[in-house]
């Protein structure tokens, strides 16, 4: 019996299902592009209004961030974000990196199996919880006691809270980077008679440096974008003067947006108050976007080298 073309073509119903599934799944994948477009669109429209109508002196040369009074000093927020991020990284980089080195280089598998979930649980704790912990414990027991802060709410407290949130991220990305260093490098080092610490510090860490840099940049980006801890513990509500002291209350870009959106049904105030929210959002979006792009460059470099 000869095989006809009809036999090879297959059951038309199966072919139809196959095509329908393909179209549906493609649409699902395309949704993500639509979301990106919507984010840019949401930010761009009101930001454009702000940028074209604002008097730039109120953005760069006013005394502080008081959107309801028409003072939009962006430096106040940028410096606030920088302080919180710096404090956070001072905590998170050594602790996160140390944990990663221990888990990847020193811990036996059985120990690792117990300790790794600790970091994962820490990673799963919502940021509002850290915000509460920051003002109920970190502030009175640590910042006020050892640094002599007078305010219960201040940028340093917020920074420490954000730092704790960033530890698991740094630890997990760094650990991935360290574990992707080939075993042969370590063996070569031991073969030369190097100790464990020499091998770790002089061979493994330099070999993983791209991944470690990526971990750092990702953590910075995450810390800049973190809202709730600063909103709860940062202390400044509707506005703040320009301030570079971490022991004083202050606002970050994120906290400024959140404060501006609370309490009122529609964000109202001076002429451009509403639009300033979007302007800050755009600045925040651009900064974190650039950091993420740089970080993914570094991650790709790790993948290519080994």
């Amino acid at each position: 019996m000869a095989i006809t073309l009809e036999d090879l073509r297959g059951d038309p119903r199966r072919v139809r299902t196959e095509r329908a599934v393909r179209v549906t799944l493609t649409a699902a994948a395309a949704t993500s592009i639509m979301i990106s477009a919507l984010i840019v669109f949401s930010l761009a429209r009101e930001t454009w209004t702000f940028v074209t109508q604002v008097e730039w002196a109120t953005v760069f040369a006013s005394d502080g961030w008081f959107p309801r009074r028409g003072e939009y000093n962006i430096w106040t927020l940028l410096v606030g974000s920088a302080i919180v991020t710096t404090v956070a990284m001072v905590i998170a980089v050594p602790i996160g990196l140390g944990s990663a080195i221990y888990l990847s280089e020193y811990a036996r598998p059985s120990v690792r199996k117990v300790l790794k979930p600790t970091l994962e649980i820490l990673a799963g704790i919502p940021s509002v919880v850290l915000g509460f912990f920051a003002i109920s414990f970190i502030s009175p027991e640590i910042v006020q006691r050892f640094f002599g802060a007078t305010d219960l709410f201040n940028l340093m407290v917020a920074g420490l809270g954000v730092g704790i949130l960033s530890i698991p991220l740094i630890a997990s990305v760094s650990e991935d980077a360290l574990r992707s260093v080939p075993q042969a490098l370590r063996e070569a080092s031991y073969g030369m008679g190097a100790r464990k610490i020499t091998t770790t510090v002089r061979v493994v860490l330099p070999a993983a440096v791209s991944g470690l840099v990526a971990a750092f940049i990702l953590a910075v980006s995450r810390a800049i974008g973190e809202t709730m801890v600063v909103f709860i513990a940062g202390g400044a509500g509707g506005g703040t003067l320009f301030n570079t002291n971490p022991l004083e209350p202050g606002l970050t870009m994120t906290a400024a947006m959140a404060s501006q959106a609370t309490g009122t049904d529609a964000v109202v105030g001076e002429a451009l108050t509403f639009q300033s929210l979007f302007f800050v959002g755009s600045v925040l979006f651009l900064i974190t976007f650039l950091l993420n792009v740089v970080a993914s460059r570094f991650v790709r470099r790790v993948r290519q080298s080994y």
């Binding site: 930010l43 221990y102 414990f137 809202t227 925040l284």
Partner: protein
Amino acid sequence: MALTTPATVGPRAAERSVADQLTKGGADWLGGTFLVLLIASLGFCVLVLVTLMVDVIGTSAPVFSERFVDFMTGTLRTRADEAGLYQGLVGSFWICVFVVVLAFPLGIGAALYLEEYAPDTRFSRFVNVNIRNLAGVPSIVYGILGFTIFTKALRSFTSTGRANGLTVMSAGLTLAILVLPIVIITASEAVRAVPDSLREAGYGVGATRWEVIRSHVLPYAAPGIITGLILSLARALGEAAPLILVGATTGRLAGDPSLLDLGQLRERFTALPIVVTEWAKNPNEGFDELAAAAIVVMLVIVVIANTAAILLRNRYEKKRT
């Protein structure tokens, strides 16, 4: 210098003797200090977790011992001894429903497309980069998206007249979008881990791509996918920043509908993390305890979810390797 091994005193002593000759008898102080520092940094994480738990549970104790039922079923009030969590629980429940119904199927679908249908086309590479960027967008920026699109542009759809677009539906849609990249990334990883031999066996007996996915790829990848789903649900549950922008209520909330009343989807709402924020910021007597108690409830849910995810993963990892 020759290394000598005394043969008569057993392997342990031999090892020590060789080590002594290599290190010339000196202890590795530097290495020891380094190791202590590493252990201390992990110890710090454990310490933070324990302190946090003790702090929160200790602060919340009076609320749970004196008025547990009242607290779980009460509504938002300005008096600390009357306020309760119920409206927050209802809001968070519905937000999770939106995430499950929208983000889960969309995310798994997109992951299947990226991994099974178009692993390396220009379109899928673009989508991949795009998803990774979306995952790094700060959550409050998603709040701006939700505010502009769901609260303003689609107001007539997401809300009744008096709610002004600030509804559970807006919040649920926003958070579904927020966790979508996480769902896609974790599902993609799970699907990528399915061995090719399984697929080839399917194609070998004449199955179509979808038939292979449905009967081989998805069942094999299921534990990994489900782990990702649980983690993203936990994330949605704890996320507060976007909800502030889509107008979660922080003061009093008028209605007190039952849990499954669909009409409330288009009314004003609040959610667990918002309630926590509000109480934590409230300087009046008694609200600290309330915030801590709400956190305990939230943590119990999140930690159960995370533990389930970790256990699920460990169990299946063990089985397969």
